[in-house]
């Protein structure tokens, strides 16, 4: 049994930070992954790097799991997560060491520090959940602008700095940080095109993003051996299986398809067995039974009137042969995602593509909801292609998070009157309408600000102002002023690392931002790209939750079970298979 000290937590997170720092920021490098098989891959993705590390330390694994969970939702920010985590833990430790919290008596300094740290983390989390969105709405949002989904997918001809251009800029800066400078514009254009195709006219904008995200596996086809610039969109759906039986020529005529999820009859014939019809006396009955069932089956197939059979499972050789005879083509082992996507779309036209089945859909006159299209992603190697595919999906998730409304809680909603006006939204001529001084600031979804540490600089300033404007009665380290100051200082570590190559640049950017007048903010002329306020907010809250969980771990119990598979929840690491069940209740909870 190992009693956990603040030092252990800090050391673990510092190690992960040093790993992640090398790839962080626009000047960050890439990590070369090599396998024993000789396969190599370059990546800058934080989650990929962290997953590739061999970590047996329970705290480290817990941290990595938090990062992965977060990046599954927002698609981005894994490295920033670790940096913020390290920075917060350091600040908490420094504060806990310096200031006494003498309301309790403790056994030792370590226990005192641990308890202070724990309470501090809880206070910060509570502060973030209650007040942070207001502070962001007041101090950060005015420096950005709001992108509306409708404008994004509008097909009108607009001048250079338009909404569509802005979403592309948002995507481009995402791809730039993930994949490098060279192809980020091309890939972001492709993503925009795909999303435009999949826009559901009558539904909420986020539902089409959600649809693309949920069905992404079925909506893209990775193809290795070609440069990324060969990637393109093709109409229809690509089913990632070849035909099991020869496909008849259809001449682009509509065909009927049948989807089956189970094994079809007959199972009477095994592979390699030869059925001789009309043979001698021996086995005649057996043969005739088989013969009749085969004839029945063939008749049934023909009665379907279908030319294509999509099967979720592998069919027997007999079925394949009979289907071929009936001039039906079968595609076996189609994945569940693809089948479900297929089932949502109607009326198919069939033709071949590479070694996959490409299904194109007719526009039905009554219900033109969406133009199905599939993304073909090319990459030089398998690993690289997989990376591009992941980057695409993460971009979709990032967009989803951007438009996710930040929770206005019941208490805050009652506190202020919600004024739904559009003055914070961008107009096509790129003028940001001045917000009236009496307007209530609301953290609207779709808000973006220039990248490059802007969010952190602005929030740092806003938090410091908030802290100093609070009543001075609460002067302890657990008071709001102290907590907001701690958070503000911890936030600065991110731009510090971004501008690690030049302290001057750091100071210049900070000064320029804080001197900028809100009304004269030009979001789109900055070269630094855009990032989503909502994603940053979610990141910050997730980091604070992780800090709180980490500091609440009191003891680590090492068990003798086998190593956990990745699907196991790490939070239960001390709960599984312990020999002494009586002690499990006290392991991961705080004693205070």
């Amino acid at each position: 049994m190992e009693h956990l000290h603040l030092e252990h937590v800090l050391q673990t997170v510092c190690v992960l930070e040093s790993v992640v720092l090398r790839s962080f920021g626009p000047e960050g490098g890439q990590v070369l992954f090599t396998r024993d098989t000789g396969q190599a891959m370059l990546s800058r993705s934080g989650s990929r790097i962290l997953t590739a590390l061999r970590l047996e330390h329970p705290l480290a694994r817990m941290m990595v799991e938090c990062v992965l969970k977060h990046s599954t939702v927002t698609g981005d920010g894994s490295k920033t997560f670790i940096l913020l985590l390290a920075s917060l833990l350091r600040m908490i430790q420094k504060t806990a060491c310096k200031e006494p919290n003498v309301s309790h008596t403790y056994n030792s300094r370590e226990t005192a520090e641990a308890s202070t740290a724990r309470h501090l983390a809880d206070k910060m989390l509570a502060f973030a959940l209650e007040e942070l969105d207001d502070i962001i709405a007041m101090g950060v949002v005015p420096y950005g602008c709001c992108l509306s989904w409708e404008d994004f997918t509008a097909k009108t001809k607009l001048p250079a700095c338009t909404i569509n251009h802005c979403v592309q800029k948002l995507l481009a800066s995402f791809f730039h940080s993930r994949l490098g400078r060279t192809h980020c514009d091309f890939i972001s254009n492709l993503t925009c095109e795909m999303l435009t195709h999949w826009k559901f006219k009558r539904d909420l904008p986020s539902s089409s993003l959600q649809f693309v995200n949920d069905n992404f596996a079925a909506l893209h086809t990775p193809v290795s051996g070609f440069p990324i610039s060969c990637s393109r969109l093709i109409e229809g759906q690509v089913i990632h299986r070849d035909f099991a039986t020869p496909c008849p020529q259809t001449d682009h005529q509509p065909v009927k398809a049948v989807v089956v999820t189970g094994c079809l009859q007959p199972k009477l014939l095994n592979a390699g067995e030869v059925l001789v019809l009309g043979c001698g006396e021996q086995g005649r009955e057996e043969n005739s039974r088989k013969e009749s069932s085969i004839v029945q089956f063939t008749a049934w197939l023909q009665s379907l009137g279908a030319s294509v059979l999509l099967s979720a499972v592998k069919q027997s050789a007999a079925v394949l042969a009979l289907a071929a005879q009936a001039e039906m083509c079968i595609v076996e082992c189609v994945s569940e995602d693809e089948l479900s996507l297929f089932a949502q779309l109607i009326k198919i036209e069939l033709f071949l593509f590479h070694r996959y089945v490409h299904v194109a859909f007719h526009d039905s006159e009554e219900r033109v909801t969406v133009k199905p299209c599939s993304l073909v992603i090319c990459g030089t190697g398998e690993g690289q292609t997989d990376q591009y595919a992941c980057a695409f999906q993460d971009a979709i998730r990032m967009l989803l998070s951007t438009w996710k409304p930040i929770g206005i809680t019941a208490t805050t909603a009652s506190k202020k009157t919600f004024q739904p006006d559009k003055s914070t939204c961008l107009h096509v001529d790129n003028q940001i309408v001045k917000a009236s001084p009496f307007q209530q600031y609301v953290l609207e979804p779709g808000c973006v600000i220039p990248a490059g540490g802007t969010f952190e600089f602005l929030l740092n300033h806003a938090l410091l102002q908030h802290g100093s404007s609070c009543s001075i009665s609460d002067d302890t380290i657990m008071g709001v002023p102290a907590v907001s100051q701690l958070l503000a200082n911890a936030l600065l570590s991110v731009p510090r690392h971004i501008y690690s190559y030049s302290l001057r640049r750091f100071l210049q950017t900070q000064t320029r931002l804080l001197k900028t007048d809100v009304s004269s903010v030009q979001v789109f002329t900055s070269d630094s790209g855009l990032e989503s306020v909502s994603c940053k907010y979610q990141l910050l809250v997730a980091v604070l939750q992780c800090v709180s969980s980490l500091l609440h771990v009191d003891t680590v119990l090492h068990t003798h079970t086998a190593l956990h598979t990745p699907s196991h929840r790490l939070a239960n690491i001390s709960w599984e298979g312990t020999e002494d069940e009586r002690n499990t209740n006290s392991i991961l909870t705080s004693f205070w």
Binding site: C14, R54, E56, H57, A60, C97, P100, H104, N107, A112
Partner: protein, 217 residues
Amino acid sequence: MALNGGDEDFEWEPPTEAEMKVIQARRERQDKISKLMGDYLLKGYKMLGECCDVCGTILLQDKQKKNYCVSCQELDSDVDKDNPALNAQAALSQVRERQLAAQSTAPSQAPGINEGPSSSQASVSVPLPRPEHCEGAAAGGESSPASTCCPISFTSFIPQTAGLQPVLQEAEEAILTKLRWATNQLQSSASLESSIQLCSLIASCANSLRSLKELSQ
């Protein structure tokens, strides 16, 4: 809620200036350790769930299943550099300190050796200044002034060079032991880092021996 109930109350006080320096130095060392561990993790080492028994750093394991502690095996030890038995510089500084102590006690002893115990007590109780960042050395070194002060006080009438002899011999022996150890380690060392450090240790041992020889002359 203290675990041990009503045991002595621990009155928490903020760290002093000296302790802050210790904390700062320790933090820098921790940063170095973290960076090294990050390097190793990227090379494919595994981060274990165990800590080193000696220094408490998280252990790494290489692909040959050998455990490796970055701070013990690669960085200079935090406390070893102040332990005279392991470090030539510390030995020299201890020698100098004792010289100072001998000089300060010799005049006090001169008036009357008949005063005996009280003055020798006084000389024993003179606290020799210890280097700041060396809890281990402080613990390890505390006993030695007490044990060696007595011979100094008894031999206060003897000229100082003679009084230094046992001390110098002790230091020389310690350095020679260390030299021998370093040579052995160097022969079996596989890491470039540690070989370089061992060579520099041998060089400083040689320098210390030279200085001791000069002192004894």
